[in-house]
Symmetry: C2
Amino acid sequence: MIFKAEIDIMPIEAILDPQGKAVTQSMGNLGLNEISNVRIGKHITLKVEANDETTAKEKVDTACKKLLCNLIMETYTFTLVQA
Amino acid sequence: MIFKAEIDIMPIEAILDPQGKAVTQSMGNLGLNEISNVRIGKHITLKVEANDETTAKEKVDTACKKLLCNLIMETYTFTLVQA
């Protein structure tokens, strides 16, 4: 079975997100003063082949922990749907 | 009313995503051969103040079009929930 994973990786709340801060300021310059608290992370999609959903979840979890996410500065969440 | 928007910005399918390609290869090196088709985009969260959901949606749409998303190379989707 092939599953499609959608992973969100965000900087943890306690950490300053300079890119987000810069974008928040630019919103003001564009006349969008109503927009605030911009935080920027990564969105990753991938396909994973596995016999069942539990195995697929484990594989995606391993990929996040070992490669995609820096756990010191970032957190991740993901959803899995059968492709 | 304050709304929280979750925006996903992804490279369009027709465009090569070199970062995703590199990560796909690295998955193999980590023993995760079951993972393929990695594509990497941005995940952005922000707060928007508006009188109603329609106005909030318009503001986020403007922000995406004018600042966050390069429409030539990327597509965006977003969801809005009341904070």
